[in-house]
């Protein structure tokens, strides 16, 4: 059964944002790592992964309704 998540990508990752970001279909139980593969985002650019406002990682499992946010490393000042 298909479920849907919301994806938000920050800074240099914006270019990987799918058109369906607000309502992106996933198979329930898919991991963040699998989602990153699908979106073709290099793992080295995804140090900060948030699911529903809490820190997760590439092994975190996604469920319908989840909000996923991914931030690349940022070091400027």
């Amino acid at each position: 059964m298909k479920t849907y998540i919301t994806i938000k990508l920050f800074a240099t990752l914006k270019k990987y944002l799918p058109a369906s970001a607000e309502h992106h279909p996933i198979k329930s139980g898919v991991t963040v790592g699998e989602l990153l593969n699908e979106l073709q985002i290099p793992a080295s650019l995804t140090k900060l992964i948030f699911i529903n406002g809490k820190k997760g990682d590439s092994t975190s499992v996604l469920n319908g309704g989840d909000r996923v946010g991914i931030f690349p490393p940022v070091g400027g000042g």
Binding site: K8, F10, A11, T12, K14, S44, K47, L48, F50, G53, K54, K55, G69, F71, P72, P73, V74, G75, G76, G77
Partner: protein
């Protein structure tokens, strides 16, 4: 300060009114400087004494509806170390000096270059090629002569960090690369002081506060051994308005730490993306 000093302050102080008509007693900036000079005491100590007597140094009067006279004394007694005096650092220096943080230690071994002019408050056409630490020191003196400035024209490293940051109550990360932030975090932990840390790329950035016992930067960047020195800012650059927003958020944390009030971004990361005005506090 002795009774004689207090009596002089009371005698010289004059009544004034807030815009809403509430009356307060104040001393002008030139008068405080003149009294400090004649009594051979520091301007900061004199301001602290005045505040303890409910006499408001006029320069802080627009603080005094949000801050108590005790709060302003706490700021004047605090010592904050700012590491990096570029985009974030220039604004943090400006804000903390105006806020009346009494002692500032400023650390940066860099000089101003053309590509700093787009966002760094202390970079002007006149300061190109000049030491960032030296210009920051002059700026603080120009804004608030009651602030004591310790100025270090050198980069923070593992060998000098403890000595440079000793005696500080709070450290503020205004650096421009990730490995230097880990050096700073290690030093702050060793010195047992809180660190306010931030970074910017383009018009996005993040801010957090790290106490000595907290996990800190590895929660944001991963382990220090396998990190790249720079992040998305190498592609996106940094824009002035975003840098100043993030720097102002750092100052908010510094003020809350000193005054021990309000909620901190401890074990939390405030993410800011000005593209669509995303501001989120995430749990680390």
């Amino acid at each position: 300060m002795n009774t004689e000093t207090i009596n002089i302050l009371k005698k010289k102080a004059t009544p004034a009114k807030f815009p809403d008509g509430v009356v307060y007693t104040c001393l002008s900036t030139p008068l405080i400087k003149q009294i400090a000079l004649s009594l051979k005491v520091s301007i900061r100590d004199l301001e602290i004494t005045a505040l303890a007597e409910n006499i408001i140094p006029e320069r802080y009067v627009r603080n005094m509806r949000m801050l108590s006279t005790t709060d302003q004394q706490m700021l004047l007694k605090a010592h904050v170390c700012i590491i990096g005096l570029g985009g974030l650092g220039g604004t943090v220096v400006e804000v903390l000096a105006r806020m009346g943080v009494g002692t500032l230690t400023l650390i940066d071994g860099d000089t101003f270059e053309d590509h700093n002019l787009n966002r760094q408050l202390l970079a002007t056409e006149e300061t190109l090629g000049v030491s960032k630490a030296e210009i920051a020191c002059l700026r603080v003196n120009a804004i608030n002569s009651s602030v004591t400035v310790h100025c270090h024209d050198q980069y923070l490293d593992n060998s000098n960090a403890d000595a440079l940051m000793k005696a500080c109550d709070v450290a503020v990360d205004c650096l421009d690369n990730i490995p230097a932030r880990f050096i700073l975090e290690k030093a702050a932990k060793q010195l047992n002081i809180p660190l306010v840390a931030a970074a910017v790329a383009g018009i996005t950035g993040h801010v957090t506060t790290i106490f000595p016992q907290d996990d800190g930067l590895k929660q944001i960047y991963g382990n220090s051994e396998n990190i790249r020195p720079k992040g998305a800012e190498t592609i996106l650059g940094c824009l002035a308005h975003a840098v100043m927003v993030i720097a102002s958020l750092e100052c908010t944390e510094v003020m809350k730490i000193i005054l021990q009030t309000g909620s901190l971004l401890r074990n939390k990361l405030m993410l800011v993306d000005l593209t669509d005005y995303t501001i989120e506090c995430l749990e680390l």
